[in-house]
Structure formats: C-alpha cells, structure tokens
C-alpha cells in the first residue's frame, strides 16, 4: 500500500470505514489518522499521518509470538492472527514499533453492556482478551475487493496493489514520487510506503 501524505486531509473516513467494516470495539482503531501541528503562526499547519499495520516483510510481531498465533499468510504475505491460538500475552503488542496491535479486554459495545444487533454480528470476528489488528480486509481481498479504508478515502490518498507488478499503479507511484517506508531503519521491511 502507498499513502499519499499530500492528499490526506485528516478526515478520518478510513478510520470510520475500518470500524464499520470490521466492527472493532470502543477504543480500538485498526486504522487511524494521527495529526501533528507544524510551524508557527502565521505559517502553522497540521500534517496528517494515517497509520495501520504495515504487513511487514520481516514483522517483529511474528517471531516473538510463543504460540504461532501471529503468522504470515503464504499467498499474499498478510500478517494475520489466529485468535484461537492467541493466549493474550501481549508480546506482539510491545514488539510492534507501529503501535497497531490491540487487545480488547471485554466485549462491551459503544452503548454499554448490551450490544447492538450490528455489534453482536461483528463481535463474532474477534475474541475478548486476545490480540487483534488490521487484516488488510483479508475477507474483501479474497473476494477481489479493495480494503474498506482504500475504497472509502475521498481524496484517494490510499492506494493498494501488487508491488511485484511493475505496471501496477502502486509501482508507478513509487517510481514517480519521493517516498519512505515507516521506520525502515528497524529492519521490519514494511509493505507500506508514504508518498511525500
């Protein structure tokens, strides 16, 4: 995936689309847009940084997992979690330099103990007290669809595709624009690049 920082306006549409698609519990955001103020008046501005799991090539969260619950899916290198194997030790949460892994302590909904029908349906996708994270909408990818955040972004700041295909839009953008993978110095080899 590439994220064009010049296009991102910080509208949090991706954040909401992710919540709507994956039904994550309160306080947990698999995708979110951070903001930072730069400069001083009258040259002050806000810069935005959408963050999410980078589905790294060498993810530090996978080897630290003692049960094998965190794994890389063979066909597309997505970093996923088998929640039936997760023991909730949180080693992967502290190993991730991007702070994009979460643990839901309980199954509370946005409106208290009683879940809405929508929450009841979506909360079946994850288990309380196990780790959860962005799946790159694997269920949508498997149907040939784009992740919800990509499809929703009104400024088309998010682009996903095949990095191994030199003709894909993502490859073209990476060739044409200055870009950086987040915290590449940590050796995680993220599969996400920010365009500047």
């Amino acid at each position: 995936m590439v994220i064009d920082l010049k296009r991102c306006v910080g509208c949090q549409s991706c954040t909401l689309a992710c919540k709507a698609e994956n039904g994550t519990p309160p306080g947990i955001f698999w995708m979110r847009v951070l903001s930072k103020e730069e400069g001083t008046y009258p040259q002050a501005r806000t810069v935005f940084l959408p963050i999410r799991c980078n589905h790294c090539d060498d993810p530090p969260c996978v080897p630290v997992c003692p049960t094998g619950a965190s794994y890389k899916r063979e066909q597309d290198n997505l970093v996923l979690i088998d929640q039936d194997k997760c023991i909730g030790c949180r080693a992967c949460i502290v190993a991730c330099p991007y702070q994009v892994r979460f643990i839901a302590e309980d199954s509370k909904g946005y409106y208290g103990e009683k879940l809405t029908p929508y929450e009841e349906e979506h909360y079946r996708q994850w288990q309380p007290r196990t780790v959860q994270k962005c799946t790159f909408c694997a269920h949508r990818i498997d149907q040939g669809l784009e992740p919800a955040c990509v499809q929703t972004c009104p400024t088309q700041a998010l682009v996903c595709g095949d990095l191994n295909d030199p003709e894909s839009e993502i490859s073209r953008l990476l060739r044409a624009r200055v870009n950086f993978p987040p915290r590449a110095e940590l050796g995680t080899q993220p599969s996400l690049f920010y365009l500047t």
Partner: protein
C-alpha cells in the same frame, strides 16, 4: 466519544505490575536454585526456589488473556523467548522437584538422592534450566525493536545479575533459618559484588541511552523524573542497592557474629529493590516515535 490521535511518544502500558512480579519471582527462584547448587545450601533453600518459580508461573497465568491456552506457549522455541522461557520453567519445575523431593521425609522412598547418579543428573538439569529461567526475561524485553530502552544487549545481563542479586538477598533473608556461616560468607561477598556490578551496568545503560534517539532519551527522562523517578531513585538505587551495600559494609568480618536482623534487613531491601527494578524497567519502555514525530 472523542479520540485524540497525536504523534507524541507513548510509553508501553501492556506490561506492568503482574509481569514485574512474574519476572521477579522467576528470576529469584532460578537464581536461588543456582546458589543452592553452587554453595551446597540446605535442602529447604531448593524447595523455596522451586516454590518461587511455581508462584511466578501462577502470576503469569493471571496475566494472560487466555490462561487456559497457556500450554500453546511452548510452540515456537526457535523464535520466541517466551516459548523458550516457558519450556525452561517447565523443565526446571519438573527436574527441580524430582531433584529436591528425596530431601523431604515423605518422599524418602524415592530410589535417588543427591549422592546417586540419577540425583546428580536431575540436579544438573534443574540447575541449567534455572540459569535459563533467570536469564530469559531480559531477552524477552531486548527482542523488541519497538522499545529502544529494552532493545539493548545489556538488558539480559542486567536481568541475570539482578536475579542473582535477588537470590543472594533471599538467602540473607533466610539465613536465620539455618544457612551455615561457611555458605553465607561467599553469598554476602557475591551480593556486594552484584550490587556494584548492577550499579555500574545501570549507569552505563542510562548514559548510553541518554545520548540515543528520542524514545530512548524519553525513557531515561521518565526514570529521572515524576513518580517513576522517585520509585527508581529511592526504591531501586537507594533501598535496593546502596542501603544493602552499606549494611554489608558494616557487617562484622566473622559471619557467625552477624546479627540476624542485619542480614534480614539487607536481604529485604535487596528484594524490594529487585521488584521495583523490574517494574521501573517495564514502565520506562517508550515506543519509537511515529515517522512524522
């Protein structure tokens, strides 16, 4: 519900008191078993070591989100230090229990003891496992590239030394119950040596990190200021290291003349410092900054 998504540095909040207690008890038990074997301490010391590691494992169960699945934690010894640690703890509990059981009268029917080959092998296996039990927590933390304060080769050494120091502390605490003076003398010297080594290692670690990247500097800042600063400076350095070092320095040269209260005070202060040391190391963990920070 409003959310504030900012790029400020964030300390880890996943591991706190329960993990600190687990690491403390495990390290203490592993270290104590090593002292038990090295200095041929009375059998009750081996039992205490075993009990501490078992207690630590129980605390770890309480910390897990899904403790019923804890057996799965042995699945990835090739890559995960937690897996290796769980295997070492299990091996230690099994071999340690079999090794010290004959010293209890109710298990006197067992066909091995410390003098037989089987007993020696069991003791050696338990000692090796105990060494790993004391060593692995440092590697669990140092394997995290996300937290520069932990991601250092010094951390496993610090944890090992701290575990051995804690073991010396509990040996001092237990000394009135029947640890002979001949065995206590080298333990007192070892405690003094380990306090000096730990002080040096902590100083090197903090000095190095205070000149590193932003997250590491923030960790050092947190250890110097605020509530954590008081816990670290008063609890870890003063109570956990300088106080027992002073008590040891004032002990009479003849161990038989050592007041039990002095040994207990030195041991207790070492233990308090050891627990707070682990808590401070955990709470000082700050994640690397976000790319735009």
């Amino acid at each position: 519900m409003t959310q504030n998504f900012t790029v400020e540095l964030r300390g880890q909040e996943e591991w706190a008191w329960l993990v600190a207690i687990d690491l403390f008890l495990g390290g203490l038990g592993g270290g104590l078993f090593l002292l038990f074997k090295i200095f041929s301490l009375p059998p009750f010391v081996g039992l205490v070591a075993l009990a501490l590691v078992i207690l630590g494992a129980l605390v770890l169960f309480a910390e897990l989100g899904r403790p019923v699945r804890a057996w799965r934690a042995i699945a990835r010894p090739l890559t995960s230090w937690i897996s290796r640690g769980v295997i070492a703890v299990s091996l230690f509990i099994a071999a340690g229990a079999l090794s010290v059981a004959p010293s209890l009268s109710i298990f006197s029917f067992l066909p091995w003891n410390q003098a037989t080959t089987a007993g020696t092998v069991l003791g050696a296996v338990a000692a090796v496992a105990a060494f790993f039990v004391a060593l692995y927590p440092g590697f669990v933390l140092s394997a995290s590239p996300s937290i520069p304060f932990w991601n250092s080769p010094l951390l496993p050494v610090l944890f090992l030394f701290s575990s051995l120091l804690g073991a010396a502390g509990i040996a001092l605490l237990l000394s009135p119950l029947g640890i002979p003076g001949g065995a206590l003398e080298p333990i007192i010297s070892l405690a003094a040596l380990l306090i000096a080594a730990n002080l040096g290692l902590v100083a090197v670690h903090l000095t190095t990190l205070s000149r590193s990247a932003e997250a590491a500097r923030e960790s050092v800042r947190r250890l110097n200021r605020g509530t954590l600063g008081w816990t670290f400076k008063l609890g870890v350095i003063l109570v956990g290291m300088l106080l027992p070092l002073s008590i040891i320095a004032w002990l009479p040269p003849v161990v038989s003349q050592v007041e039990p209260s002095a040994a207990i005070a030195a041991g207790a202060s070492i233990l308090i410092g050891g627990l707070l040391f682990r808590y401070c190391i955990l709470k000082a963990g700050v994640y690397v900054a976000f790319p735009l920070a």
